[in-house]
């Protein structure tokens, strides 16, 4: 991992420019118009857009869980998705859904350990993933007795446990409290510095400054792609979200 050796104070040297995720003309009838997108390895990318704009659909397509209509193609690294065996996909890409319904009372720990399925259930990194999501104290709790935010942390911990280089998180912060939300963002940042690629969807645009790249979706179309400060202009926010944006000193929350 070249990125890992650079140190966090190093200048923004050109990292590996290899794309971690390449979407070519992917589309889902009625939900996503054809769009193309390339995500560089080692980046933290955010999908933003109003409800129903196609963020989850795009993530599902990128994760290979929802087929794109022809002639759409998905590439992970240099490999076309159809050429990657299902079990290997479990090692290469992690997908954390927006929410989950757990019918059966598996323990938090065993659900997180499912992230190791594609690695032969070797348990590596499970404890670390639990700790990273602040689930140590809940490890033995049945997952069907968790709050919404706790469930979301379990889903993220399971994604972390896969140790996959490409992490796709659908609304990872939606159900989290302020502290866990910030911790999750900080974790995404650490993963990025270690060379992982994180694509997440988010609603809180005030957090967009943490992102390397913002992808704006609107009504199933790709509206804009670029650095947060370049893309999230008051004009675009007005057009896409129908809100007026302004900067004023206000309450700022940071991890203490």
């Amino acid at each position: 991992m070249t990125a890992a050796h650079q140190g966090r104070d190093g200048p923004p040297e050109p990292r590996r420019t290899r794309a971690a995720l390449t979407l070519t003309e992917v589309s889902v009838p009625g939900r996503l118009h054809p769009l193309s997108l390339e995500v560089e390895a080692g980046k933290l990318v955010g999908l933003v857009g109003p409800n129903g704009s196609g963020k989850s659909t795009l993530l599902s397509v990128a994760a290979g869980l929802l087929p794109s209509a022809a002639p759409g193609r998905v590439r992970w690294g240099a490999d076309e998705l159809p050429t990657i065996p299902v079990i290997e996909r479990g090692r290469r890409t992690a997908w954390a859904p927006q929410e989950a319904h757990f019918e059966f009372g598996f323990s938090v720990r065993s659900v997180v350990a499912q992230g190791r399925y594609a690695h032969g259930d070797d348990e590596a990194g499970v404890a670390e993933a639990l700790a990273a999501m602040d689930l140590g104290g809940l490890a033995a709790r049945p997952v069907n007795r968790l709050s919404g935010g706790e469930r979301q942390r379990v889903l993220l911990a399971r994604a972390l446990a896969t140790d996959a280089p490409l992490q796709l998180w659908d609304e990872p912060l939606a159900a989290l409290d302020v502290r866990h939300g910030l911790q999750t963002l900080a974790l995404a940042d650490r993963l990025k510095r270690a060379g992982r690629t994180i694509v997440l969807s988010l609603h809180d645009l005030r957090l967009a400054h943490c992102l390397d790249l913002v992808v704006v979706l609107h009504e199933g179309r790709l509206r804009a792609v670029g650095a947060p400060e370049a893309v999230l202009t008051p004009e675009l926010l007005h057009e896409v979200f129908g809100v007026r944006a302004s900067f004023r000193p206000g309450l700022t929350l940071e991890l203490s």
């Binding site: 290979g64 299902v86 499912q114 259930d121 490890a139």
Partner: protein, 337 residues
């Protein structure tokens, strides 16, 4: 299980049970099997039992090898098949209420068998009725899958099952009403509807023997079933070939239910109650639940059969519901506290 083993210090203390549940279930099954062989119109002492099994005691040997052993083996196979099938259904549909009976698979099996009997096809060969039962179960499964494919929400699933059960019940009723004159055929039909183990022979044992390979094929699927039972898309993202797994599960579950129905008629409740009890006792992990459900399901049906026989010739299907129902309610109440 390494997961629960390593989590032991922080995990609930009940996980650290000294006796492995497999051993307990096996011991229970053996005990019940011995009782099942010993009790009946003629009670056999342990010594007679042993001598009979070794064919040293002619009288006991006749009873055991002609009547009780085939019955016992079928009870074990049927119990194993139904409870494993229920477990699979529950993981497949991510719904602990799913069972072969609720979804109409056993009703389909019964309808197939009843049609075969009603049309007078049963006399052709001993295998005709099981074949038709199997076909009926397959048709019912196909219908359930196509009706409740997407997401399989509780309501859709149960409604599909209700509709199918009604439809197949109508088929059965029609055949019954069309043959009220032929007493013998009606008696055969009633056998299917009530479910029972009376007068089972070695032919029936051989017929049901396919349950063993089907159960063996199910054993390695326990781990991916864990992932599937928490969500199909999630399982797929974690590296499970969900389409392939689902095909195997539904195929095996149908074959198991159909075989059980073919030799014992419709026996309700086993597929629902046994997996539930086991989940309450050992947790939701299918790597343990699959083998345990086979053993414990066998033990449950053998036990029900013993009770039915000692109480006074209650048919198996009646006993499983009569015993299973209240026991299940009690467990549910206990679980709430």
């Amino acid at each position: 299980m390494s997961a629960s083993g390593r989590a032991a210090p922080s995990g609930p203390p009940k996980r650290a049970t000294a006796v492995p549940p497999y051993l307990l279930a096996f011991a229970l099954l053996l005990l019940l099997a011995a009782v099942s062989l010993a009790v009946g119109d003629v009670r056999l002492s342990p010594a007679q039992l042993w001598a009979g099994l070794l064919r040293q005691d002619e009288f006991a040997a006749t009873i055991l090898w002609h009547i009780r052993l085939p019955r016992l083996i079928i009870a074990m196979l049927v119990g194993a098949a139904l409870s494993a099938s229920g477990l699979v259904m529950q993981a497949y549909f991510r719904n602990s209420l799913a069972s072969p009976g609720l979804l109409g698979v056993s009703a389909g099996g019964a309808a197939g068998a009843v049609v075969a009997i009603g049309c007078g096809l049963a006399a052709i060969s001993l295998l005709t009725v099981p074949f038709f039962a199997m076909a009926g179960a397959l048709v019912a499964t196909g219908a359930v899958i196509s009706l409740a494919r997407r997401g399989a929400s509780t309501e859709r699933l149960l409604l599909a099952g209700v509709a199918l059960n009604a439809l197949l019940g109508a088929v059965t009723s029609y055949v019954l009403s069309a043959h009220t004159i032929t007493y013998e055929r009606n008696a055969q039909i009633l056998f299917w509807l009530l479910g029972g183990l009376e007068d089972r022979t070695w032919e029936h044992v051989w017929m049901a023997a396919a349950i063993v390979p089907a159960a063996c094929l199910l054993l390695p699927l326990g781990r991916p079933m864990d992932l599937l039972s928490l969500g199909a898309t999630e399982a797929q993202s974690l590296g499970v070939d969900v389409r392939r797994l689902r095909r195997w599960l539904i195929g095996l579950s149908t074959v198991l239910t159909a075989l059980a129905t073919a030799v014992a008629g419709t026996v309700g409740f086993v597929g629902l109650i046994v997996p539930h009890i086991l989940r309450l006792l050992v947790g939701p992990e299918h790597r343990r639940l699959v083998p345990l459900s086979l053993v414990a399901g066998g033990a449950f049906v053998v036990g029900c059969d013993v009770i039915g026989r000692t109480v006074g010739d209650l048919r198996l299907g009646i006993v499983t519901s009569l015993i299973g129902g209240p026991f299940f309610l009690w467990l549910l109440r206990r679980g709430e506290r």
